[in-house]
Point group: C2
């Protein structure tokens, strides 16, 4: 029996895109279902009753929630192609460490850059650049976080890479002069087939960001 | 060559204890080094320069940080004894989901119960009980979160179980009437050899909690 794979998602989500990319890295056919986050579907509420958030991967009727948990699940189930996590336990622990760093230290300021203004936004921009610089230093001269291959940490960051232009425009600042190496890796990631097919047009994200910014920053 | 395993830890830490329990579940000999969090050791700052937090597991000179990442690393390296995560990818994803829930929805209110008073503390108590009730419902009639065996989610919760008495006394409330099944599982976990040998005397935690509470709630 063929696998039934459904992804409940929302197109500009930096979290949803992680699941899309992982599925495409593995060549898994899936049905994409766009959610309206203002009027969540009964299926989303049923499949993720605790957080009621996208993305949810529904694999043969069973839900997996939380984006990087979904990516890890995809890596473990479709383990025959393009491993996303390294096989060595120490390297795996390092990858999980950096993903956790991204989900705490990058997420919070990134979120505030589009949703706040004035001093709060200035502080968020500073914290965002600081976090990106730590990642730049971890990246070093490697093309991707895990070395020569695109993997777990790159997938976690790609959600932010696709928002870089929107963040810069909402915050009126530039990331590249501060983090040239990270930016080079971002461009490399954004050119991969799995990513090109998963990431929306940056202009549309900019437009979306300014639309929601109007609601948050009255 | 024998493994050199050092744990940088702090005795009342709900996070540090997770690493201690995991090491003892696996029967790994380790050197426990108590940190003074007001004057962190040069070794801690060198081994966890990003967060500068305990626990840090130093395995043959290489650091692993973030408590549940440490537990997962221990499970992967010493894989021949007492598996802590299930082998099935779906069950693993569920376990990781609940650990993430604990680290966000249990952690925040638990932290506020001892560090705040008045309305903020009342709100924290309400949120804490709500989160514990969700865990109670997930536990159902199983002895442990993963079923018949003590595992990943139980280890994550044991740090909070060992603080239950201190939380109740700081917040002047009772957990057992609200969550009898979770409390029964907590007592079961707290009786395990690996846990008995890792968890401090609850009276000492109560004393510690009131001492730091005095500093935070002047």
């Amino acid at each position: 029996m063929a696998d039934e794979v459904i992804l409940l998602d929302f197109w500009p989500s930096p979290f949803g895109v992680r699941a899309r990319i992982a599925l495409r890295e593995k060549g898994v056919e899936f049905e994409y279902r766009e959610e309206n986050l203002r009027e969540k579907s009964p299926l989303l509420l049923q499949m993720n009753p605790v957080h009621k958030k996208i993305p949810v991967l529904i694999h043969n009727g069973k839900p997996v929630c939380e984006s990087m948990n979904v990516v890890q699940y995809i890596d473990e189930v479709w383990s025959d192609k393009n491993p996303l996590l390294p096989s060595d336990p120490y390297q795996r622990a390092q990858a999980r460490f950096w993903v956790d760093f991204i989900d705490t230290k990058v997420y919070e300021p990134a979120d505030k850059i589009w949703s706040t203004k004035g001093e709060v936004q200035e502080k968020a921009k500073k914290e965002y650049i600081e976090a990106l610089k730590i990642l730049e230093s971890e990246l070093g001269d490697k093309p991707y976080f895990e070395g020569d291959t695109f993997g777990f940490v790159d997938i976690a960051m790609t959600g932010y890479y696709m928002w870089f232009e929107a963040s810069e425009k909402c915050g009126n600042f530039s990331i590249e002069p501060e983090c040239p190496t990270l930016m080079a890796s971002a461009k490399r990631c954004l050119q991969r087939d799995s990513v090109v097919n998963s990431v929306p047009d940056p202009e549309k994200i900019v437009e979306f960001a300014f639309k929601i910014r109007k609601i948050y920053c009255v």
